[in-house]
Each structure stands twice: as structure tokens, then as C-alpha cells.
């Protein structure tokens, strides 16, 4: 449960390790790196080859006879699968991911603030309870949630809360947003609690002496001071939701499907149409890759904090 080991990384250790990074070690690493990269490279190169060539000759022959086209990308973006084009499914992914990142973080931040800075009986127990909910696998939630959304709340045969809307457009995105929000809360609360709890007591007390209430402290102090952790978690959550297939499969229908679901469908139905799959895969992974490369520092930090959780 301690903080990242990186922070302890020291400079004076370095020369002693040097003997370990021998040319042989570097060679070994390069070989592994090549093995790790080649499959992706193969799909990437293929996505730029004419459709008929992809399925008749290996992508490695491209380098001998390079012939490049963007047709696969234009065809794929306009390809209709389960009533929407791949381009529309990318918009769906965005529509699912942004609210499903903002909402849980805000709710978790509020809960984390109370757990960290408002003293009440049972505080520790409640924190541990919330944190322990992380161990519940998503699979445990699917069927009951599906029933809750489609049947509402019923007690003893009386309808208490009605079901979710199901109009001609399907249920909209509400079900996916809510499901992602709920399943993200334990980890988000845990991480943000750790960030908020590490704010020095002096600062909080000074603010209180100045007459600030919890509401003001939350807005003016806790929120900005937790920003680095919020950023780390936001990236983690963004990638998680964008890359999710399970929740999308169960809680989106037809026109609301995100790109992961459309790709999975394409792979099943058009499994041999590699001009679709190669280009489709790349348009789907370009967004997370951009996020990843642009914000790598935050992402690694979030990963380290998340992984050393107890």
C-alpha cells in the first residue's frame, strides 16, 4: 500500500548495475522487442496495402513491392455493421468514454474527501469496505444490472422505480455510463483518498481557521491538490472504458455500439475481410495510443499507484 517505488529511485546506485546491461543483455532485449512489435507492424503495413494483396501475399512482401493505398481506411470508415458505420462507432466510443471518465472521478473525489477529512465513527471500516469492493469481478454484476435497468425496482410485486427508457433509439448510453461509473468507484475512491489524505494537516487547518467550510476547502484546496492523481486516474479510466468490450456487449445495442464491439462483430462475421479488420483495428487503437504517448508520464504513475494497491 506504500507509494510508488520510483520515487525512491536514486542516482548513486547506477554505476554498480552497469555490468548487468552488457551487450548481450541489450541484444536479448532487442530480440524480445522485435518479437513484441512485429505482429502489430504486420497488421499496420497490411492496412495500407490494396485489399486483394492483403489476402493473397504476405505483408512482408510489401517491402519488395511497395504499393500504398488509403482505400481500406475510407471503405472501413463507411462500412456499415449493425446499423452504423465504423466512423459512427468511433463517435459512440467517445460519447461513452468521456462521461464515464468524468462522472466516477467526481463522485469518488467527494466520497474520498469525506473519508479523508471528515472525522466520523466507522470511517475506517467504511473505507476498507469500499476499497474491498474492488475484488468483485464485473461478471458478478452483469445479469442483476441488466435486470435492474430493464425491470426497474420492484418490492413485493409493486413497481417502485420504473425501468430505463427503451425507445426506438434503444436505451441511449445511460446504461453504459452508469455501469462504468459504478464499477469504477472503488478503485477511484481508493486512489483519490490516498491523494487527499496526503495533504498536510497544517494546510487544511489553516484553511479552516480562515473560516473556510468543507465545501470551500473541497473546491479551492482538495480539487486542485488532487489534480495529478485525478489526471493519472482519468487516463487509466479513459483507456479502460475505451478498450472495454464486456460492458459494451451487454449494455449497448445497435446504433450505440462502440468501436470495440463493432470490431468484435466484424471479426466474427467478416473474419476474412482483412482490408476491413486491419484498417478498423488501427482507427480503433489510434485514440488510446495518442492518449498514451501524450500523457505517458501520468499513465505510468497511475499504473504504479493502482498496481501497488493491497
Amino acid at each position: 500500500m506504500t507509494v510508488t517505488p520510483v520515487s525512491r529511485s536514486t542516482r548513486h546506485v547506477h554505476h554498480t548495475h552497469r555490468t548487468l546491461s552488457s551487450p548481450w543483455a541489450t541484444m536479448g532485449a532487442i530480440i524480445i522487442a522485435a518479437v513484441w512489435t512485429v505482429p502489430t507492424l504486420g497488421l499496420f503495413v497490411s492496412s495500407w496495402r490494396p485489399a486483394n494483396q492483403i489476402t493473397t501475399s504476405g505483408w512482408w512482401t510489401f517491402f519488395a513491392h511497395p504499393e500504398v493505398t488509403v482505400d481500406n481506411y475510407t471503405t472501413t470508415m463507411n462500412f456499415v455493421s449493425s446499423r452504423i458505420t465504423v466512423a459512427q462507432s468511433l463517435v459512440n466510443s467517445l460519447t461513452i468514454t468521456i462521461p464515464a471518465t468524468v462522472i466516477p472521478i467526481m463522485l469518488a473525489l467527494m466520497a474520498a474527501y469525506a473519508l479523508a477529512w471528515i472525522d466520523f465513527r466507522g470511517r475506517h471500516v467504511l473505507f476498507v469496505a469500499i476499497f474491498s469492493l474492488q475484488i468483485v469481478p464485473l461478471q458478478m454484476l452483469l445479469v442483476p444490472l441488466l435486470r435492474l435497468y430493464s425491470g426497474g425496482v420492484e418490492i413485493g410485486g409493486t413497481q417502485i422505480i420504473p425501468s430505463f427508457p427503451a425507445n426506438s433509439l434503444g436505451s441511449g448510453f445511460a446504461q453504459v455510463w452508469i455501469t462504468h461509473t459504478m464499477s469504477a468507484l472503488p478503485l477511484a475512491t481508493f486512489m483519490l483518498h490516498n491523494a487527499l489524505a496526503s495533504i498536510p494537516v497544517d494546510i487544511m487547518e489553516a484553511a479552516q481557521i480562515d473560516g473556510a467550510g468543507h465545501g470551500q476547502i473541497f473546491r479551492r484546496l482538495a480539487l486542485p491538490l488532487a489534480m495529478p492523481t485525478i489526471a493519472s486516474y482519468a487516463i487509466f479510466q479513459f483507456l479502460w472504458v475505451w478498450n472495454d468490450l464486456l460492458v459494451a456487449t451487454i449494455f449497448t445495442s445497435g446504433r450505440n455500439a462502440p468501436v470495440t464491439k463493432i470490431l468484435a462483430d466484424l471479426s466474427g462475421v467478416h473474419g476474412q475481410q482483412w482490408y476491413l479488420l486491419t484498417a478498423g483495428t488501427f482507427v480503433a487503437i489510434i485514440v488510446p495510443l495518442i492518449v498514451f504517448f501524450a500523457l505517458q508520464r501520468f499513465f505510468v504513475r497511475g499504473l504504479l499507484a493502482g498496481a501497488t494497491k493491497g
Partner: protein
């Protein structure tokens, strides 16, 4: 709220994002405003506090769309709110404190209760019910899980066990060795990124990348794996058709995606091994391999366990890879996938699926317990 979501679903997707985020932030802003108002002194604010304590649950119920036949639930909300007001008014630590606390924490608690706790309990109940979820059937669903054959669940259970044994060990081992090899090499950053990049790629994307890599066809091969087989003089194989090769190749996809995670975490741990420890071993004449085995590994053992446990849990829940590569055919189903398949078929086998979900849950627990124990030991 139902009306709001209905209206929202009719808007263009990209308009929905700002609308829903703005609506949410307005609600949060309102809650923060109430939190600021709650502790103020004076008689007026006593009434305000009463208004908040009783009003918030009632408004919440109204927003959720309480049915006409269930008006008594409002009464429940009023009683709860009144109770909170009373407790708050008597609180020794100042009025408004409990109301503030409730406003901060209840949105998350409410969602956790209906979204995690309640569904978990319901799944446990479903696991002992028939496929409609109404008739108690005892252990029948679990008997089904452990029965072999194409209609039973045993294949997916055994496969999951193989996944959990193979994937975490290999991903952790490769990640560890790689972290050590690139440590302080000249191209450390670049080499790390290459291995780490798959972390950003979805399992769906990874599965398609590897489906292409494993591709088999008559005539010219377009999958690199079969091309390599041919280069060493073998005949191409239909990889994803033959059990258990197909399963191990699918596990390979998980390893490919998780090694980067292991590498980054372990690399950070290796860098934090105290210099004097390694120097002492060096002076004693220990070789690089010995230093690795006897100094570095024992020092970073807790981190290794964390990584191994995390990947084990990921392996237990795997769904996407199976769904995209084989769809569970050719004996490749796993618990996480079979669980979804059981209730997506007609008629839905809710009982089977709940039993499988429960099994995943039960299998996760020892890993987490082990992890917690090893962390507790490390802290001491």
C-alpha cells in the same frame, strides 16, 4: 430521469457528451452549495438544514421516477431525512456536520450499494436458482459447471486454470528479465515503450493483430507464424482450430499485452534496490546472474508478487480475447466468456451464468488474500 435520458438519447452523440457532463456538474455544484450552506449558524439555517435533510432524499426519489403506486417510499425518505436532521442537531461536534458528510458521501455509497453490493448478492442467489431465477435448484448449477462434455462447464473451468497458471508466470518472467536487460542500456526509453505500448491497445485490437499473425489458408500464407513454419521446412497449421495449441496461442495474446505492465512496475522496483546491497555482493565476487538471483529478486519479491497477482486476476476474468479469436469454439471457452455465453443464448441460462460468475469471484479471493498478506509482511 428516465425522461431526461430518453430526450438525451434522441440528440446527436457528440451533443450528448457536453449535455450529460454539464447536467452532472450542475448536480455536483448544487451538492457542494448545500454543503457550504449546511453548517451556517442562525435560526434560518436550522430550517435550511431541515429542508436539506428531508428534501434531498425526496427529490432524489422523484428524480428516479417513483411510481404512483409506491408513494409510501416518499414517507421512508422523509423519515430517513428527519432522522438525519435530528442526529445532526444533537451532534456534539457542531450542527451541519453530519449533513455535510451525508452530502459528500451518499452519492457514491448509493451507487455502490445498488451497482455492486446488491448485484453481487443477487448473483449469489441466482447461482442456486433455475434459469428463470425463480425456482431454487440447490447445487444443480454447480454440478453443471463441473460436468464435462460439450454442454458442461468443465472445459471452461479447466481452461481458465491453465490460463491462470501460464499467463501470469510468463508475463512476469519476461517482464522481469526484460526490465533487467534494458536497465540503463542506451536505448532504455525506446525499448521500454515498444513493450509497454500493447498496454494501451484493447484486447479486441490485440486479438485481431494476433489473429492475423496466426492466420492459416490454402496456398500462399499471409500469417507470419505459418510463414516462419514454412521457412524451417514445416507445413502450415490451422492454429486456432486445434486444441490445446489454440488455447496457448490465445494465452500468448494476454502475455503480449500484460508483459509491459510487469516490466514497468518491476523496472521501477529494480531501480530502487539499494546500491550498497549490490556493491556488497559485487565485492564478494558474485556474478551478474548470482546478484540477480540472490540480491535483486529477494529484494523486489513483494513487487513481483503484486505483479503476478494482478495478472492472475486479469487472466481469471478474460473475456475479450476468447470472444474475438474463436468465439469459444474448438474447446477454447473460459469462465469469463462462458458466463456471458450462458445468458446470451436462448433461453438464457441465468443459473449457469451466475454459478460461473461466482466461481470467478471465489477464485479471485485467494490471490487477493495472498497479496494482502505479502504486503502486510513487507510493511513490517
Amino acid at each position: 430521469m428516465q425522461a431526461f435520458f430518453s430526450w438525451l438519447a434522441g440528440l446527436p452523440q457528440l451533443v450528448q457528451i457536453p449535455v450529460v457532463v454539464a447536467a452532472f456538474l450542475v448536480v455536483v455544484g448544487l451538492i457542494i452549495f448545500l454543503i457550504e450552506v449546511a453548517p451556517r449558524p442562525g435560526r434560518t439555517y436550522t430550517w435550511v438544514r431541515l429542508g436539506i435533510a428531508v428534501g434531498v432524499p425526496v427529490v432524489t426519489l422523484a428524480v428516479l421516477g417513483l411510481e404512483r403506486g409506491a408513494m409510501w417510499v416518499y414517507l421512508l425518505g422523509v423519515i430517513l431525512g428527519g432522522g438525519l436532521f435530528w442526529l445532526d442537531a444533537r451532534s456534539a461536534k457542531g450542527r451541519g456536520r453530519l449533513i455535510q458528510l451525508a452530502l459528500f458521501i451518499s452519492p457514491a455509497l448509493f451507487l455502490l450499494a445498488i451497482g455492486l453490493v446488491w448485484p453481487t448478492l443477487r448473483t449469489v442467489v441466482f447461482a442456486f436458482m433455475d434459469k428463470t431465477g425463480t425456482q431454487f435448484v440447490g447445487l444443480k448449477n454447480f454440478v453443471w459447471v463441473f460436468s464435462s462434455g460439450s454442454s458442461g462447464g468443465l472445459t471452461s473451468l479447466l481452461n481458465t486454470i491453465v490460463w491462470v497458471i501460464v499467463a501470469p508466470i510468463l508475463a512476469t518472467a519476461v517482464g522481469l528479465v526484460y526490465a533487467l536487460w534494458v536497465d540503463r542500456s542506451r536505448a532504455e526509453k525506446l525499448l521500454k515503450v515498444l513493450i509497454f505500448m500493447p498496454m494501451a491497445i484493447s484486447f479486441v485490437g490485440a486479438s485481431i493483430i494476433f489473429k492475423f499473425f496466426y492466420d492459416y489458408r490454402q496456398g500462399n500464407q499471409i500469417g507470419l507464424l505459418n510463414q516462419l513454419v514454412m521457412m524451417v521446412g514445416g507445413t502450415p497449421v490451422n492454429w486456432l482450430q486445434n486444441y490445446p495449441v489454440n488455447m496457448f496461442l490465445m494465452i500468448g495474446i494476454l502475455i503480449w499485452s500484460q508483459t509491459g505492465f510487469a516490466m514497468v512496475i518491476l523496472s521501477a522496483a529494480i531501480k530502487s534496490v539499494p546500491a550498497d546491497l549490490i556493491e556488497a555482493a559485487q565485492i564478494d565476487g558474485a556474478s551478474a546472474v548470482r546478484r540477480f538471483l540472490h540480491v535483486i529478486i529477494p529484494t523486489i519479491r513483494p513487487t513481483i508478487i503484486v505483479v503476478w497477482v494482478t495478472i492472475s486476476i486479469t487472466s481469471l476474468k478474460v473475456y475479450d480475447i476468447v470472444s474475438v479469436t474463436t468465439g469459444g469454439y474448438n474447446n477454447t471457452s473460459v469462465l469469463g466468456y462462458e458466463m456471458v455465453r450462458q445468458f446470451s443464448q436462448f433461453p438464457p441460462q441465468t443459473g449457469h451464468s451466475a454459478a460461473l460468475a461466482m466461481l470467478i469471484f471465489i477464485l479471485v479471493i485467494p490471490f487477493i488474500a495472498y497479496n494482502a498478506r505479502s504486503l502486510a509482511k513487507g510493511d513490517r
